[in-house]
Amino acid sequence: MKQMKYNLLFILICLSLTSCNNFLEEKSNDKIIPKTVDNYEELLYGEAYFRGDQNFGDYLDIMTDDVKCYTKGHGSSLASDAREDAYGYYTWQIDPEMATSGSRNNDDSWKDLYHSILMCNICIEDLSAMEGTQDEKDFLHAEALFIRAFDYFYLVNLYGEPYDKATASSALGVPINNLTGMEDVNLPRATVEANYNMIMDDLKNSIEFFKKTTIVLDNFKANLESAYLLSSRVALYMKNYEDVVKYADLVIAKKPSLYDFKTRDSKLQFINDFNPEILFTFGNYRLPYFDNGYFTISSFPISEELKALYANNDLRNEVFFSSDMPDKNGKVDDTKIYGFAMRTSEAYLNRAEAYAELDVLDKALADINRLRSYRFSDDNYIVSASVKEDVLTIVKDERRRELCFEKQRWFDLRRWGMPRIEHVYKAGTSNITDELYVLNEGDAAYTLPIPHYETERNTSIVRIKRPERSAQ
């Protein structure tokens, strides 16, 4: 009897201990706790990159002098009206998130960019614990630093005051987020200087790690050249012209090619997989305000002013636009690439501007003419000038022509002295009336308000006072 008892107890104990670990091993079909560098790499790509279905700052170009307002004045009841959401931005309202319908058109850029930052922070934080080779880790590290710099660059230029060396140490920038998980904190605004320092640091480190790693991927993922290019752009914004030249040189040394418009495949939009000057691609090709299709009764075609800037033999006329509508980025299915890109042309333009500012006028003009040589249908493209101011004007106009509708113009206007802009708004659906709105020189509205959803929750946000603006 006793023997039996012990047998049973033994069975019981065995039952409870055998393969306990296997049985209780955490399981899920599609969920993982990231462990390897690969896991994090996929996560970073999924959550921190702005891929083909994501965008930020869609409204950036409709605030500039590159667009005008257009309405058909009629439309079926099913059609959408781009003016509804655009009005607040196009006319630089005190609260651009307020749509004409009265509902709020949430500006998600803030949310999305900060989420991207958090994901980069997590990847950087967890690096040491990941399984993988040092080489893989260096690549991930470089990527995360680049994306973070990229995020902060857009954030500070959207919501921070324009950079000015004199005031940067007190100007309102955007919060610096060093979190690596969920936390309930109210992050205060940092200074613009702090933001720029952080961007430059991240870029410097990113470049170091890109140099260290042997991994080189295509332009869907962050890479050394794009880090150089972003560095040259940030340096340009900070007016560190030597640095601009230094970084632009590095870009051009590695990827000198420009897209020759004379020989391009005319079926494809400008930003496409065969375009040799694309360094890094991001964002959605769909542009909500530039659709003049059947189902919209209004849109924002290019302004007369911009149109006038292009010479007749400038091929950009047909490559960049289609019936007065920006048309640089085509359907993903055709172009096999995302909607936006960082490209080599910008390196030439950055360098040209830096040379002009540094009074090295011949080099500035050489860069501009080199770019133009790829853009014109004939040899009649050379520009020249002998005074610094004239060269600067040439450089700035060329930059406007080349980089229009790539989310650059608004930022350029901010750093070029925030000029006065007039916008005519077409109000009404059947009886169209013209309303004139004016953005004054140096207007506070050159800085966007921080979105409502943030200020409602984050009480430590100091707001910039944008002026009330109504039609004149």
Binding site: I11, S16, F23, S28, G102, Y114, V185, I337, N458
Partner: protein
């Protein structure tokens, strides 16, 4: 077979008790069992020898004027001898004073019994105290009594103990049930016949020497034991809060599933039946909502095994009071006729053994088993009629009243924002203006509409007939117990397209392989098929809200269609019958449960129990519509048969047509399979007669898997042989978008759990009982924090049986008085919270080809367990021999560190985070009172009252942002208020033009959202009652039994059905019916003083309240009409009293049954939902029915009539 046994009374008692505690092995005094019995006697004798020296003990007694029994007890204490005596006889001797010092046992006894009519004899270690008379007469006469013992069916009962009362003389019956007993004749000779499982019978010897006895089966009183699923506990040793009910008590004829029968029967158990839909499961809560974000449903246990839901449903869906569960829950597949009893475990002490799953209480169901005797066949049937709903009391306009409203609108020049549908009066107007008809024709048509009065409720609903049939075959002999049953149900809902068909089968078999080993198997199968309407149709709401001026049929009898598509360029025609005919939903469930048990007696007091359980549930949900429905037309953007536009650039192709051909078939199939293996050892021993010690330790392994796939298939043509059309995705890009939207979903979840548990009970002298339970679970839950795996949960509890105290013995009118208290801690890891970063593997990016993963959970390192501490104190008593019995429990459940979600600043990179910030408290009491004023053979009357009061308070909600909608629906979790609290706008009367106004809606500069909401909204109340319970009465006169059950619910509030059914359209649409409240609407200036019903208007009335039309910053509503619907004057008290059932039962007399060669026949008539006392403002709506603000498909509870027949062969 003739044998004299030395069996003392205590011994038999203990045996009997074992059968209660153990796995239910009837101890048979058969040949085999005799060996066991001899063993026991042998062990007993061994014990005696251990005490052999006791006789030499010197005894000192110093007792004055005490009862003899007390002296004997003292003697017993000092000598450790066993004494056998009759308490009564000692009582008769009165009191005695005795002083002895160092006396021998013999001397002591001599002096004790000196002068009494008693004498004694010492037999080894046993002292027998007996009558002097008896001994004297013994010498005179010995008689021989013979006889036969049988059961009620004349089956001989072998092994029955026949004893002489007050002695230890006895025999057992032989295989033929016969016995022969040689005894000394005496007056007051009483024979006691006892047998496990049978009622003990006493016969006074009257000089007849042949005594044949029929023993009746022992009906185990439900209140003697409780079953926790892991154990059986004697009620008098129970220190937890458990309510037990027998299957017969809960059985209701019209109810199809156990959960539908529980309302009002169990204190502390709240049941909400939101609809009369056949096959819908009610919402059950035990002692309030104990979680903020987690599941609030109790755990169902059948025969010791936890059953899982056939389809895994999210806590949010389960917790929502507006959600109706048609799929069914864990218990739906169980045939109610197979239920022997249920036990509801309420406090932490009772549920601790179930671990983390059981924080919301446990309902333990025990199925029937065979009764001793030859096989019996039972057939029972219930035939039920359910009434259909009518317009009576609903206060809806008839067609004339409705058309008059349209006339007024027209006459006052009120216009619609969008063109109204071409139907009813407005349709006639269209035709008139288009000059399609003359003015005379117009008047004729108006008259036609006024007289139409379509009875939608009659057209869609019916008085339905349902039937259930149940056959069982059961029986048991000394070794084997069996119960087989089969059932068939065909239940028709009072909605014409609602039907349920279910088959059940059960097989239970258990057998003693030898005197130590018992094995058993159970097998349950069920198959059910339920038919419902397509979920886009809410039939009762349709009937309620659709104008009665709309005809259902044309004059020629064909279906009449009208345009139901506001905003579509093409009028899309609708007819509800056509819609119902050409769409539908079926839910089919197949379930199989198999249990195998083994009980092995290692030692008499040490038992090993093992159980293996497998279960399988296949659920097939199918929802479909074909191309003839309006629903398909609305996707197609064309009526069936209309030509498609020719140009491919037409918006029809590019943006409208989402389903060009056919209908759609949606299949959602889920396979649930689980197994449980459990082993435990139970040790139970009574030391020195007063120390009752019981320990169980065990381990359990459980695995539950859900696998499923949900698919949508377009182009469905059911009437072409269930074929599917191929549709050109290039031509129809919107169709392609729809296909992409409705992606197939695969479910594959495995939940594994390994648990260890232990329970320990110590009872001292049946007076003080202490209990300790502990359990720890480890699971494969994904992302779980390793440190919280196997964290134990535990409970302690105690009981004091005051009535067993010596000092209380003299209080004769109290049969039972006891106190209970328990305390326990329960932990819970909220299902999907994790301290880790969790990613979801995605597919490759379409453009770049790189793999992506998306974020599932951000790391949240500060997460802790949710903890619930609960305390329960209770008193139980029974007075005047059961005339009044009652129990009263007070409890306090405190949930701490509940997981809540808090919105955080977006610059942190996340939108919201979960944190352990919620605290929730449930306080309350449960009570049960039973009074039996009349208890005679022919007449008995029982009254019972029960109730549960629960106060649920969210002490800390942790959520920072609540939308205005949440205030209205009751989904807002607000500190200081209960879960399910809802709010209303403050109605400020009508203004001078009859428009409604609302108070405190001003948006003062700089006001915060929270502050504004605080101003705007007024707390209305809770959607769940404070106090719920039932009372019932049962009156029996001979073979007639009349019973009534009432249910009451106090303390909840109800939002009335919306007065304005479509708040976006400010005038009532032509197809809408209206409440007859509108008859009293504001019509002329000054009416605002006498009515609260606003003017008929097309004014959105928004200028003040919505950001859409003003420069408000913060939204507080959609528009003024919606505010009116949701205002404080559109709420009412939800207190109600429901006459749940009235039933009359008649059982045929035994004689008549015998003539019919039947064992037992009874008839039953039952009426359910006889009437409900409720707030007048509800206007025909049932207080349990969900408000019509959402499409829930709820149908108000209806009255049912049931006829039942029960025959046992």
């Amino acid at each position: 077979m003739f044998e004299i046994n030395f069996i003392n009374n205590k011994q038999t008692n203990r045996m009997k008790k074992k059968s209660l505690n153990g796995p239910g092995i009837p101890i048979n005094y058969s040949k085999i069992c005799n060996i066991l019995r001899l063993c026991i006697v042998f062990v007993f004798l061994l014990n005696l020898t251990l005490f052999a020296k006791a006789q030499d003990v010197k005894i000192t007694l110093n007792m004055s004027n005490v009862k003899l029994e007390k002296i004997v007890k003292e003697l017993k204490k000092q000598t450790n001898m066993r004494f056998f005596y009759s308490v009564e006889k000692l009582e008769l001797q009165g009191k005695k004073t005795i002083h002895l010092k160092n006396a021998s046992l013999d001397e002591s006894l001599k002096s004790i019994f000196n002068g009494t009519s008693l004498t004694y004899s010492i037999n080894k270690n046993v002292v027998v105290i007996k009558d002097v008379d008896t001994i004297a007469k013994n010498k005179v006469e010995t008689i021989v009594i013979v006889g036969r013992v049988t059961d009620i069916n004349d089956n001989p009962l072998p092994g029955v103990t026949v004893m002489i009362k007050g002695s230890f003389l006895g025999v057992t019956t032989d295989i033929n049930g016969e016995y022969k007993l040689r005894v000394l004749n005496s007056k007051n000779l009483i024979l006691v016949y006892s047998f496990v499982g049978m009622q003990t019978k006493e016969i006074v010897y009257s000089g007849k020497n042949t005594i044949n006895i029929v023993l009746l089966e022992e009906v185990q009183k439900i209140d003697e034991i409780v079953i926790t699923g892991y154990q059986k506990i004697e009620k008098r040793k129970l220190s937890s809060s458990i309510v037990s009910l027998s299957g017969d008590v809960i059985r209701e004829g019209a109810a199809l599933s156990l959960d539908n029968m529980l309302q009002g029967k169990i204190s502390g158990l709240s049941v909400l039946n939101p609809t009369a839909t056949v096959g819908a499961s009610p919402k059950i809560r035990i002692r309030g909502a104990s979680s903020i974000s987690g599941n609030r449903e109790p755990v169902w246990v059948v025969d010791g095994i936890i059953l899982d839901d056939p389809v895994s449903i999210s806590p949010t869906e389960l917790n929502s009071l507006d959600n109706i569960n048609l799929i069914g829950n864990a218990i739906s597949s169980l045939n109610p006729d197979d239920i022997a009893r249920i036990d509801i475990l309420k406090d932490a002490s009772a549920t601790a053994i179930y671990g983390v799953k059981a924080a919301n209480g446990v309902i333990v169901v025990t199925t029937k088993r065979g009764k001793y005797g030859k096989a019996r066949i039972n057939y029972s049937t219930n035939l039920t009629f359910m009434e259909r709903p009518t317009y009576k009391n609903l206060h809806r306009m008839n067609s004339e009243e409705r058309v008059e409203v349209s006339e007024e609108a027209f006459e006052r020049g009120l216009t619609y924002r969008n063109p109204p549908a071409h139907v009813s009066y407005e349709g006639a107007l269209y035709d008139l203006f288009a000059k399609n008809i003359s003015y005379d024709d117009f008047l004729k048509q108006v008259k036609f509409y006024k007289e139409q009065n379509t009875d939608w409720l009659d057209e869609l609903f019916r008085t339905s007939f349902s039937q259930t049939h149940n056959v069982s075959l059961s029986g048991a002999d000394k070794n084997t117990n069996y119960y087989f049953s089969g059932a068939y149900k065909n239940a028709n809902g009072n909605f014409k397209y609602n039907n349920l068909e279910q088959y059940n089968g059960m097989l239970k078999l258990s057998s003693n392989l030898n005197n130590k080993l018992r094995v058993g198997i159970d097998l349950r199968v069920s198959n059910s098929k339920k038919h419902y309407q397509h979920s886009s149709i809410d039939p009762f709401k349709y009937a309620y809200q659709t104008s009665r001026a709309i005809p259902l049929y044309n004059e020629d009898g064909s279906l009449s269609y009208y345009n139901k598509s506001q905003g579509h360029a093409v009028p899309l025609v609708y007819n509800i019958l056509n819609e119902l005919e050409h769409s539908g939903k079926t839910i089919e469930n197949q379930s199989l449960n198999f249990n195998a048990r083994l009980n092995y007696k290692i030692l008499p007091e040490l038992v090993f129990n093992g159980i293996v359980s497998l279960s399988r549930n296949n659920t097939y949900q199918k929802e479909w519509f074909d191309d003839k429905t309006w629903y398909a037309s609305s996707l197609r953007y064309l009526n069936l048969g209309d030509a498609f536009p020719t140009k491919l650039t037409d918006p029809f192709y590019t943006s409208q047509c989402r389903l060009p051909y056919g209908g759609q078939l949606t299949n959602d199939d889920t396979k649930q399979s689980s197994y449980t293996i459990r082993a435990d050892v139970n040790y139970n021993k009574i030391f020195k007669e007063v120390h009752d010690f019981s320990v169980t330790i065990g381990t359990e392994v459980k695995s539950n898997i859900y696998e499923g796939i949900k698919t949508n298939q377009m182009g469905y043509l059911p009437d072409r042989g269930d074929k599917f059309l191929d549709i050109d995705v290039i031509k129809f890009p919107m169709y392609q978008a729809r296909v992409e939207e409705l992606k197939d979903v695969v479910t594959d979840n495995t939940f594994n759990m390994l648990s260890f548990f232990g329970t320990m009970t110590y009872a001292y002298d049946n007076r003080y009982i202490a209990n300790f339970n502990i359990r720890t679970d480890g699971s494969n839950k994904f992302g779980q924090d390793k440190s919280t795996k196997f964290l134990p949960i535990w409970s302690v509890s105690g009981r004091w049986n005051v009535h067993n105290e010596e000092f209380f013995k003299s209080v004769s009118w109290v049969d039972n008085l006891s106190f209970r208290a328990s305390y326990g801690i329960q932990g819970n890891v909220s299902s999907d919270q994790t301290p880790n970063l969790v990613a979801i593997l995605g597919t490759a990016d379409k453009t770049s080809g790189y793999n992506i993963s998306t974020l599932d959970k951000l790391p949240n390192p500060d997460l802790k367990w949710e903890k619930t501490t609960s305390t329960n104190v209770a008193i139980e008593f029974s007075l005047f021999k059961g005339l009044v019995s009652a129990s009263f429990d007070y409890y306090n459940k405190k949930g701490k560190d509940m997981i809540v979600s808090r919105d955080v600043s977006l610059s942190t990179g996340s939108n919201s985070m979960t944190m352990n910030a919620g605290n929730i408290e449930n306080k309350g009491f449960d009570f049960n009172v039973i009074v039996n004023p009349i208890r005679t053979k022919d007449i008995s009357w029982e009254l019972s009252l029960n109730g549960g009061y629960n106060k649920n308070t969210v002490t800390d909600a942790g959520i920072s942002e609540i939308n205005w909608e949440d205030y209205l629906t009751g989904d807002a979790i607000i500190p200081g208020k209960s879960v399910n609290s809802f709010y209303s706008y403050k109605f400020g009367g009508l203004n001078e033009v009859g428009m409604p106004t609302f108070l405190d809606t001003e948006e003062i500069d700089g006001i915060s959202k929270a502050q504004l909401f605080k101003n705007v909204f007024e707390y209305t109340g809770k959607r769940i009652a404070d106090l719920e319970g039932g009372f019932s009465t049962t009156f029996r006169y001979k073979k007639w039994t009349l019973g009534a059950i009432f249910f009451y619910s106090i303390g909840k509030k109800i939002r009335l059905n919306p007065l304005y059914e479509n708040t976006g359209q400010y005038l009532p649409r032509p197809q809408q019916n209206m409440s007859d409240d509108f008859v009293n609407r504001w019509k002329n200036a000054g009416d605002e003083n006498i009515t609260n019903i606003p003017v008929l208007s097309n004014d959105p009335g928004l200028n003040v309240y919505s950001t859409t039309f003003t420069d408000r910053e913060i939204d507080i509503c959609d528009n003024a009409w919606q505010m009116y619907n949701m205002s404080n004057i559109r709420t009412c008290s939800g207190d109600f009293l429901r006459f749940r059932t009235l039933n009359l039962r008649y059982a045929l007399s035994k004689e008549l049954c015998k003539k019919l060669s039947l064992n037992d026949v009874s008839f039953r008539l039952e009426v359910s939902n006889l009437f409900t006392l409720k707030s007048k403002k509800l206007k025909g709506r049932d207080p349990e029915q969900v408000s019509m603000t959402k499409d829930t498909g709820a149908i108000p509870l209806a009255r049912t009539y049931t006829m039942g027949l029960n025959v046992t062969f």
